[in-house]
Amino acid sequence: MRDLSLHILDLAENSVRAGASLLVVSIEEDPVQDRLTIVVEDNGSGLAVTPESATDPFYTTKKGKRVGLGLALFKGTVEQAGGRLVIDRSEHGGVAVKAEMQLRHIDRNPLGDLAATLSSVVCTNPGLDICCRLSVGEVKRVIQVSQVARQLPENARHSLAVARRVSEEINAALTELRATA
């Protein structure tokens, strides 16, 4: 996965499969500590196995598949950027996947198009509540992604319009954060 956002998309898919109705994506850039932290958590069924097994690329509960790559590849990406991946229980009841990387590591993948990623998750999962917390240094923004989508007039709530609106909101927050921080 070239972009971290694509890993986030994989994690969101895992949460949806685990029956989650809530998805919280937090992205924290700390330029002083040179750290990038990404946390994806849900209120789904929780892990049936240990975190070690879940990150094994040959572990999957998908039928008819020999490999389960989402968590394993994310772990690889994170470790390549001098970081570590921790999988825990989330305070929301499901799984919390927490990745810490060195922000300026030469092999750290770019975040990529987070706005496009989250808007595609919203569009494909209308029943899912998605919350996105962004912070750069001390400055923070919280975007209730699903609410942004629901605030659109009913007759304009088709996926293209939702995607555009959500993207605008997230991109605006990111631009503002980077400018202020």
Binding site: M1, L6, F58, R66, L69, A72, L73, G76
Partner: protein, 118 residues
């Protein structure tokens, strides 16, 4: 071209001799070179050989998922023992070479192997 002919011509070190009997007759006509696993997932042709410097267990899983015939680790890279064992379980033969990926791929191309076109 048989896998055994490739390993002989390129003087590859066989990291999974346990699989020799079952895999050396594999016909190889395609190849891919990459260290980015999402690129391997997206573009490596089934039945082909992968040349890479990544030695992580994830390479094995991705190669199995993509139905690759073998993996050649370039620049003297060798995976850990546990990775070799998993690959043997999965029936995926692994080789290493002291040559760079560029040199290995050049030789494979000369022998007639081709990459995915466009």
């Amino acid at each position: 071209m048989k896998l055994s002919e490739i390993t002989r011509a390129l003087e590859l070190v066989n990291l999974t001799p346990e699989l020799e009997a079952t895999t050396s007759e594999r016909e190889i006509t395609l190849g891919h070179v990459s260290d980015l696993l999402s690129d391997v997932l997206g573009y490596a042709p089934a039945g082909g050989v992968l040349v890479t410097i990544q030695v992580h267990l994830n390479v094995i899983a991705v190669a199995v998922h993509s139905d690759l015939a073998a993996v050649i680790f370039a620049s003297d890279r060798v995976p850990e023992e546990t990775v070799l064992e998993r690959s043997i379980q999965e029936g995926l033969p692994l080789y290493s070479s002291n040559r760079s990926a560029f040199e290995i791929v050049g030789r494979l191309y000369e022998m007639g192997l081709r990459g995915r076109e466009e």
